[in-house]
Assembly symmetry: C2
Homo-oligomer: 684 residues x 2
């Protein structure tokens, strides 16, 4: 954190590779620093020149009398390691590596990049980049980047994994009347990543809103735990690119990013209470609306005032589609509206004040509606019709006094620019299209709501010793069915009754105990497609058993067989745990059976999860209505599902030896039963 303070508030900066050649980035960066209002010391470092922009150049940072706060490296890739070492030796604690030619170029570049990290670690030197644009702090006039524009100062911090996206985002945000506290280009994220910046921005008093453009995650668990805390105070917006396989592939050659499937990303954003944006336009909509709301609390119940029926209908559709609701206006409100509105106006929400509505009608209608306790937010729509005085109406509306969010949607082009500016000056923000405003509003409401939720913990207890003992007894990379069942049983997860059979006679006795239907399977940790291989058979009737047993025995003469209870009724689910190289341990619950892939119905979280997370995961399943007993189907014991999910989560946390675990299916009914489980172990 101290290092990051120096990244954004350096008192002295050395540019290694500062150049006199105006075509070179080393010149651009030095020029940006020299020509901005930045008041700190600047040192051009270049062994091949006497001076840069009138300042005497030094051959190396080692020639400085004392270490600078920030070193910026803009030399060819092959020289970076050498100068970085010198930076470390000089005692400087943070460096920006602008130079490209590292992990984004492939394995050789990746190796070079790892070398840089080693140097950094050796000298306790934090590194931003390589392959980045630099940082900007408009407040102190610091443009330590090769970007062209100095953004207007403001309250938005922006961390971008693409340097080139900085220009349009900064321009569009500035043109919306908003400004930046910081900009930082993340590049390849060899060392400093989004979580470091998040931590800094989260504690920073000059930052109200955090924007990020990411092509990959670096450290999932840290992202989640940090973001959860920060998001309770300020919003974090992420635009995640590389959601599709091909998009991820392009990201790989751009900033050496590892892919995270969209479904997994969605789970992380929910868990971390990060607002996920789908486009640059949406980033900007969110920043604008968040700024205009300030500390105001938005809610789902939304009222609409409009002088145009059509846009009122479009807004209504958008409200319902985004899980908000139309306020049901109180009788008193409707009566009061009736007194001021013409007879043909529509007094119910959306309140249509007709095409000839003037500033008085707009103001009075809005005031009456805002007073209704059934209204959480007010959307005010205008299209310019004959005689509509756009400026007068905007000027009247900004005088509304309320602690409820107001969103003007004045639709059109140049004819409403004047209103847009009036709104902007008064701290409102105008949207041109109802859908865009409402999508942003819905996301903000969800963030505000979640930011008030307590973070719960997982209180399940696992007998670690017993589990490890079972694992050691099994002594193989993958557990077989019996070992898996025993392990789950040791965690109080229900499993079917089972018996390992040595001969047919044992089977008959076992079947009498277990009952029909039952499954006769080859006991094996390694046989994957048992159904396809005929290594599993259902026994519906006791009389069928001997024949089936003999068949199986002939087919797999050297294999042990296992007989397990068939569980009937209930709904099939999947619970799984796996390790992801950047996200850490992920837990998943999904719909089972043939619909798994069709429904794409799975919900992910990063471990650890708490009780609230588990409940939320289940409620996010598309089949949740079925689990709750929709369409006359019997309701499932959801608490049992929740408990199983939390148990598996705790098991994975408590026993690092477990590499991957999949219960498929978990049959959920009046209780939950893990009918099949695959567990693989971490190999030493």
């Amino acid at each position: 954190m101290a290092n990051l303070k120096k990244l954004f508030y350096p008192k002295s900066v050395a540019v290694i590779g500062a150049s006199r050649n105006s075509q070179k980035i080393g010149n651009l960066i030095f020029k940006n620093l020299a020509e901005s209002d930045f008041a700190g010391q600047l040192y051009p470092i270049n062994p091949n020149t006497q001076e840069v922009l009138g300042q005497p150049a030094l051959a190396s940072v080692l020639d400085l009398s004392e270490p600078v706060d920030l070193a910026i490296i803009v030399v060819p890739a092959e020289t970076v390691a050498k100068v970085l070492t010198e930076v470390g030796q000089s005692g400087t604690k943070v460096a920006i590596i602008i130079s490209a030619g590292f992990a984004e170029t492939g394995p050789a570049g990746q190796e070079k990049q790892e070398k840089l990290l080693e140097i950094g670690q050796k000298y306790h030197l934090k590194i931003l980049g390589p392959n980045c644009l630099g940082v900007i702090n408009p407040k102190i006039g610091l443009n330590a980047s090769w970007g062209e524009t100095m953004p207007k100062p403001g309250k938005i911090a922006f961390a971008s994994q693409s340097g080139a996206l900085a220009a349009p985002v900064i321009e569009l945000v500035n043109e919306s009347g908003l400004g930046f506290s910081y900009f930082a280009s993340l590049g390849n994220k060899a060392d400093i990543d989004e979580t470091d910046l998040l931590e800094f921005f989260g504690q920073d008093k000059n930052t109200d809103i955090i924007l990020t453009y990411l092509e990959s995650f670096k450290n999932g668990p840290r992202l989640v735990s940090l973001a959860q805390k920060i998001a309770s105070k300020k919003p974090i917006i992420v635009l995640k690119a590389g959601q599709t396989t091909q998009g991820a592939k392009s990201a790989q050659s751009h900033t050496a990013s590892l892919a995270t499937p969209e479904r997994v990303g969605r789970g992380i954003f929910t868990q971390a209470n990060i607002i996920s944006a789908n486009s640059v336009r949406e980033i900007i909509s969110l920043a604008r609306l968040l700024t205009s709301l300030g500390k105001k609390q938005a809610g789902p119940k939304t009222a609409i005032v409009t002088n145009a029926g059509g846009p009122g209908v479009l807004a209504t559709d958008a409200i319902v589609k985004n899980s908000l609701s139309l306020s049901c206006l109180g009788q008193k409100t409707v009566k009061r509206l009736g007194r001021i509105l013409p007879a043909s106006a529509s007094l119910n929400n959306p309140v249509d004040i007709l095409g000839d509505a003037d500033e008085k009608i707009y103001f009075k209608t809005s005031k009456i509606i805002l007073a209704d306790p059934e209204v959480d937010n007010l959307i005010i729509i205008l299209t310019k019709q004959r005689g509509t005085n756009v400026k007068a109406i905007a000027s009247a509306l900004v005088k509304l006094k309320t602690n409820k969010p107001i969103i003007p949607i004045f639709m059109g082009g140049k004819s409403i620019l004047a209103a847009k500016e009036i709104f902007q000056k008064a701290g409102f923000t105008n949207f041109y299209h109802p859908q865009e405003a409402i999508i942003a509003l819905a996301k903000i409401i969800s963030w505000q709501k979640r930011s008030k939720k307590k973070i719960t913990v997982n209180q399940i207890k696992i007998n670690r010793g017993q589990i490890n003992k079972l694992i050691n007894q099994a002594n193989r990379p993958r557990l077989n069915e019996a070992e898996g069942f025993r392990l789950l049983s040791a965690c109080q997860v229900n499993t079917p009754k089972f018996v390992i059979l040595d001969n047919q006679k044992e089977g008959i006795t076992a079947l009498e105990k277990i009952g029909c239907p039952a499954f006769l399977k080859v006991l094996s940790a390694d046989l994957i497609h048992k159904t396809e291989l005929g290594a599993i058979v259902k026994i519906d009737f006791k009389d069928d058993f001997p024949e089936q047993f003999n068949k199986m025995n002939q087919k797999f003469p050297s294999a042990k067989l296992i007989l397990s209870q068939g569980i009937t009724g209930g709904i099939e689910l999947i619970i799984g745990v796996k390790k992801d190289p950047v996200l850490g341990r992920l837990i998943m619950i999904g719909a089972g059976g043939i619909y798994t892939e069709i429904l794409k119905d799975s919900v992910f979280r990063i471990l650890p999860i708490g009780k609230n997370d588990a409940r939320e995961m289940i409620s996010e399943l598309k089949i949740h209505p079925i689990l709750k007993g929709a369409r006359g189907s019997q309701a499932i014991n959801l608490e049992a599902v929740e408990e199983t999910l939390l148990t598996i989560a705790k098991l994975a946390e408590a026993v690092p030896k477990i590499n991957q675990l999949e219960i498929n299916p978990l049959i959920a009914g009046s209780k939950s039963v893990a009918v099949d489980v695959k567990i693989s172990l971490v190999q030493d």
Copy 2:
């Protein structure tokens, strides 16, 4: 059509209700007509005034020496019928009723509106409105509306069910450099509706693109058959509001619209090859991109040139999410690119030409890529970076000669306005955000592709006489199971074997013939929830039959029982036919079982449908991959499903006596079997 010609090209216009009071719409309309370039005759009609804007007023249209081409009525609702009658008597054949206060106000208004329609029919007088803004024809300077602005002339026809949406749409389209052939406000659509305008715009040589904003459909079958024909030549874009129940409710009080569920609307748009837009912004994106493409054919294989990695990744995501594909550039192309691009450029698609790319690099790269046969369209992305000469690059790119679509995406704000204008002048259109361009492109590709498809017919033959005989024999409003099965069998639709039982003994004989499992049910057309009432029981074993029969007999002593074959295996589907008040007869196929509602997996079409429609309906099902045999499940005989669907479609067409029909489930396996069917008949 002749009447519509007079609506848009009148030689003489009477404004009934033309007023001297500048606050009144009757004044605004007359002023619009008088002050525009319209060269035809104008007559103010108002019994209470001598002149309007210097023109002598007449008391009634009956005072005119000859009928005008177009009468515009702007009098209070209660006087409309009277003046409309006079218009009819005068011999005028088309009228616009601007006045509100009809169906949109409720049942009394609806009655008043029907009266107008009667008057129109009596005098062969076509009516636009009531409750509308009027029409505009910029080419002849006709502003027969109370809208403020005269749009710039051009090739886009716009029909809007909301008058108030006209202003922003016209302004935004004009600001994009495009113009209008016609604008018409549909209002309550008492008489002239979207299909009439569609027919006119479709045949009109001045119109290349048809835009519509609709809150409801008026005549589904005509819309489909007309649009199918027109869409083979020019695109039809519809923004449909009122998709949600609440949105439809607001539309009801706005233009008296009847709701059409979103799923049904989607089916109609596909069937009619209408491009469905989701927002006003999308309407405009589509109009812009369609205009810039002209006759160029777009295709799925898309190449990207970009000076910025991040936006390239975002564009890639959008391409994949919208079912387009990244062009796989040929070796030759990659080699040629390698010769002109720097070493660190990315030569594969998306082609990253790096931040310092100039106009020469942009031009040459684009030219090379366009020559690759694997490229259907080219997206050219730019963000303004240090030294990027936006104007020079745009000027270079518009010189590219190709018959492939080129879409520039120059991202930013004011800094790229100059480029936007260069593109606009050269017939290109710039997008600010990759996603918006790609969504529009994908919709246009789908329209182009479908516009080349032949319209197929349904060649199934139905024995009408036999079906009607069966219906007459049944002689009740709803057919019972046996009657339903017989009717389907007569159409060659597979049904289970069944026997109607008079006594237990018959049942045992029947069961021997039918086999187990079988179902024993109460034979009744009126008992709806048979499962819940215990009026249906599964017979798994022959021995269980006598007991089950007796139980059922005791429970329903006066009912006849039916024993039917249980069909096992296969996948459950639903096929249904119903009547919709505006859409006519709809046919539906959907996923069956408990997932029906969760998957919301149903596809609708308006009858008649052809072979291609049936195939397409099945392929649009979310469970289509399962039907095709995904995940190791057995493939279903899809031709059998298709044939059943076409048979039911033909049955509904051929036998108008059938009001509603639902096969649920249709069990689809190696053949398709209708396991249960409910048929209700039209009551005379």
